[in-house]
């Protein structure tokens, strides 16, 4: 029950946090003039008509960065508990953590060698 009381605060915060900034938007929606026309609503493109689909194909580069990020993000799942308990653990814990980080750094080194980190 204690934990729920704690998280009730966070829960209400999660509900309220988007509402607070939404208030000025709604207020502006009430106050501000509404005179839409086709030119105004057209997609902004430095004055020229938009050519083709918005879905131009993007570079693979972005996906690869996302990929490396995902792997490191998941690594955090293990490193945070490790760091948390580190104070009360013995030297073996350091070695375990070291091996864990070392194995993952391998992946980074590989990506580096294969020039994935090169922005082209």
């Amino acid at each position: 029950m204690e934990i729920l009381n704690q998280w009730a605060f966070i829960g209400i915060f999660f509900v309220l946090a988007p509402i607070l900034p939404a208030v000025p938007i709604i207020l502006a929606g009430v106050i501000s003039p509404k005179k839409p026309n086709a030119i105004k609503q057209s997609t902004y493109e430095c004055g020229v008509e938009t050519v083709g689909d918005t879905w131009v194909q993007f570079k693979m580069q972005y996906y690869l960065y996302g990929l490396i990020f995902l792997i490191f993000d998941v690594e955090m799942v293990f490193l945070f508990p490790w760091a948390l308990a580190y104070k009360q653990l013995d030297f073996a814990a350091f070695l375990a953590g070291l091996l864990f980080i070392f194995l993952l750094s391998d992946a980074l080194v590989y990506a580096w060698r294969k020039k994935v980190l090169e922005w082209v």
């Binding site: 194909q57 993007f58 792997i71 993000d73 948390l84 308990a85 864990f100 980080i101 590989y110 294969k114």
Partner: protein, 173 residues
């Protein structure tokens, strides 16, 4: 806190998270627009994070938000944007969709019969209110007699996945 007969805040939160999780899941499997699908997926997984909080596993809830919403959701969005023509799928389902629906219903039935009926109606509280904390998780992860091997293997798996994905996805060669 107790606002009425049986309607505890926990029950309200549970209902809300159920709505998020199942509603989001429903959106994922039915939407024609896969960017929206990714958003529905995020909604659904956020609901799961809520369940984790209710089940006194705040660490996993936080990690759920970090990994699924912060990383996997973004990766899905990237993938959808990298491959064109996913915003207006003409045919959502394949020709055997009704078979799939049948299989899903049967799976649900089997799960109900096999797993849930034995504990159905058992309103018993958890065995203990003493819950292990994240510190204990950290200790367990590096203790020689517990999870130190899976801990390292997880790292190896992540490395392998990353290298594999890079090899597959790289444009040249």
């Amino acid at each position: 806190m107790n606002f009425g007969e049986g309607l505890t805040p926990e029950a309200i939160a549970f209902g809300l998270f159920t709505l998020l999780t199942l509603g989001g899941a429903f959106g994922v499997v039915t939407t024609r627009n896969l960017v929206r699908g990714a958003i529905w997926l995020i909604v659904s997984l956020f609901g799961i994070a809520g369940f984790f909080v209710l089940l006194s596993a705040p660490f996993l809830a936080s990690v759920q938000v970090l990994v699924y919403i912060g990383a996997i959701g973004i990766l899905f969005s990237f993938a959808v944007m990298l491959t064109r023509g996913m915003t207006n799928l003409k045919e959502r389902f394949n020709s055997q969709w009704w078979l799939a629906a049948l299989a899903a219903v049967i799976a649900f039935m089997l799960l109900m019969v096999g797993v849930i009926i034995p504990v159905f109606g058992n309103t018993g509280a958890p065995v203990s209110d003493q819950v292990q904390t994240t510190v204990d998780l950290g200790v367990a992860l590096v203790s020689g007699n517990q999870y130190v091997l899976p801990f390292e293997v997880a790292s190896l798996l992540l490395t392998a996945a990353m290298i594999g994905a890079i090899v597959i996805a790289r444009e040249d060669d």
